[in-house]
Amino acid sequence: MSTHKITTQKVNFKVFRFNADEDYLPYYEDYNMDITSEEVVLDVLNRIKWDHDGSFSYRRSCRHGICGACAIKVNGRSTLACKERMNDMIELFGNELTLEPLSIKRAVKDLIIDKGDFWEKHDAIHPYLISDVQEHPEHEHLVTPEEAERLLEADLCIQCGACHYACPVVEINEDFFGPAAFAKAYRFEADVRDDALDKRLLNLHEEKQGLWDCVKCYECAEVCPKDVNPIDKITKLHQMLFKEGIATSNVATRHAVGFKHSIARNGILDEGGLVLYSEGLGIVKHVPVALRMFVKGKIVPPWALTKSKNLDEIKKLVKSSSTAKF
């Protein structure tokens, strides 16, 4: 084992400053500091407040990666300040670091944001066990270790908001529940004691804010300080919708199912056929672009489509390995 030696290096911090009560616009303040290899991001925030400017504001509490209060953005990356080592940040971004709130447009004072939208979404998925509890049960309601494992890592979420404010869809569509709320929904859907299946899943299935608007960018999985992997839970919720027979026919569900049909037919995708299957009559809105694509040789007519070699193998596998119905 190598001996641990504390090293020091100079870092220039550009820190977001704003007071909604006084300032018209935010501004950035520079702090040059010597950073030791022992420090985490929260230590830097504390030193700015204690050594430089007592009015500097940020949220902090447990300092143990449990309360979820101190999430901020370092060079645009959501990060839990008490857990993130400065050395790792310097390795990632160099010696010029920008410290900002999770959401600039929701900034209240310096790094403190109004997290109201996060909690609203969190509450909207009914984040609690819904169950007909017998007041006088005959025996304990035991959960086996196997059943508990179905929650995967979803119950590790500390509601820090790192993924929510890293999600590009949350940024664009204020109705979108966001990765944290979905992961929480999965946590209860996967719980054997919960019977809210229809109520919670149906709610999520509504198209506007629903599950199907996830762009699959994996930003949430990348930033989560507790390895909850929210996008994996979103995928699992998608699968549950089909499994529980809740999925109704819409563009998104037909799109997912359409891949199976297209693969069973040609092996490789029939892109035009898939869009037609997904959109139905809605395909008319794609016609102008499709015509231009056709002229440029980007659309292959149905009769000239390439098929995978050994297509019979693929057909056989689709038949024998299918596990879902729609």
């Binding site: 645009g76 990356r77 990632l92 971004f93 590009p168 869809v169 664009i172 569509n173 198209e207 199907w212 608007d213 996830c214 762009v215 699959k216 960018c217 994996y218 930003e219 999985a221 990348e222 995928t235 998608h238 699968q239 089909f242 563009v251 998104a252 569900t253 799109h255 997912a256 199912v257 891949f259 199976k260 297209s262 693969i263 092996g267 490789i268 995708l269 892109e271 869009v275 959109e279 672009v289 231009r292 694509m293 440029k296 040789g297 980007k298 659309i299 292959v300 390439t306 995978s308 070699k309 050994n310 193998e313 693929i314 056989k316 596998l317 689709v318 024998s320 390995s321 596990t323 879902a324």
Partner: protein
């Protein structure tokens, strides 16, 4: 040096909506002295949608594709970020879960195949950087792209989840500060443009389900490159390419600003620098005209 040889998983778009990507891949491979064995037996990877419906079927189909690369005893090279994600994810899950691997192999046995886990799966971009090297590529450049500011657009599924993607190649890519495509631009003699959307999402996967979200993301990406003073963009992902090249009208409407830039596939950029002809690179197949040459 022994001649490089890979099993090529083309994905579906290369056979349909991005024929220029198919052509330029082979043109560039020839220049670089790479032999590509096309996996003509391969099926669609499910494009990150099939698993939303049927996860097991998606695993079995991807395992079959990989099994063909294994049969050749070759590394599987992908030319689509989403193919890379789905295939590498399948490999990761099967290699780390013996029970799941057995279940999948039970199905593959019906068609006389077996998934072993012996082939690496790597995107073409990382394959050439790892196996040929940027210095060597630089030496091979005959037409340096020195007069161009080129905006790299990485595409999510090559850089995230980083833990998974970095299993396949030597130099770990930092998803917040990726460099591979910038490095390739510089090796081709160009100037790489830094802009904040370069590692962001293009919106492709919700184009049908959430068109407004998709169009805004596309618009933001092109606008970011334009504001960075880019002459054109380059991407290793044909799905990103489809968004950035063919959806400029919807993107412009969505963000309330006219956005448009020529977008090249990574192979086309490299091909230009290595002296391939415009015909070989299929430059006439773009909707946004490639008018800078």
């Amino acid at each position: 040096m022994k001649k490089l040889k890979y099993a090529l998983f083309t994905g579906c778009t290369a056979k349909q909506s991005t024929p220029e990507q198919y052509m330029s891949t082979f043109a560039v491979a020839e220049k670089l002295g790479i032999e590509l064995v096309e996996l003509v037996e391969a099926s669609c990877c499910g494009a990150s949608h099939l698993q939303d419906y049927d996860d097991f079927l998606s695993l079995v189909l991807n395992a079959r594709n990989i099994a063909y690369a294994e049969k050749h005893g070759l590394t599987m090279v992908t030319i689509c970020n989403t193919c890379q994600l789905n295939t590498a994810m399948t490999k990761h899950r099967l290699d780390n879960n013996h029970e799941l691997k057995e279940k999948v192999n039970e199905k593959l046995k019906e068609i006389g195949l077996e998934y072993k886990g012996t082939s690496n799966i790597i995107h073409f971009l990382y394959a050439i950087i790892d196996d040929i090297g940027l210095d060597k590529i630089k030496e091979m450049v005959v037409t340096p792209l020195s007069q161009f500011n080129i905006a790299p657009f990485y595409g999510c599924h090559n850089i995230r989840p980083s833990e998974l993607q970095n299993e396949s190649h030597k130099k770990a890519e930092n998803p917040y500060n990726p460099t591979s495509l910038d490095d390739l631009i510089i090796a081709c003699g160009g100037v790489s443009v830094d802009y904040k959307e370069k590692n962001k999402c293009c919106g492709f996967h919700v184009e049908l389900q959430a068109p407004r979200t998709a169009s805004i993301l596309t618009g933001n990406a092109i606008a970011g490159a334009m504001d960075g003073n880019a002459d054109w963009m380059v991407t290793p992902c044909p799905l990103c390419h489809l968004k950035l090249d063919t959806q400029t009208h919807h993107a412009s409407v969505a963000i309330g600003r006219e956005v448009k830039l020529p977008v090249l596939h990574m192979q086309q950029m490299l091909g230009l620098a290595l002296g391939c002809t415009h015909e070989q690179l299929g430059l006439k197949h773009h909707l946004t005209k490639v008018d800078f040459i």
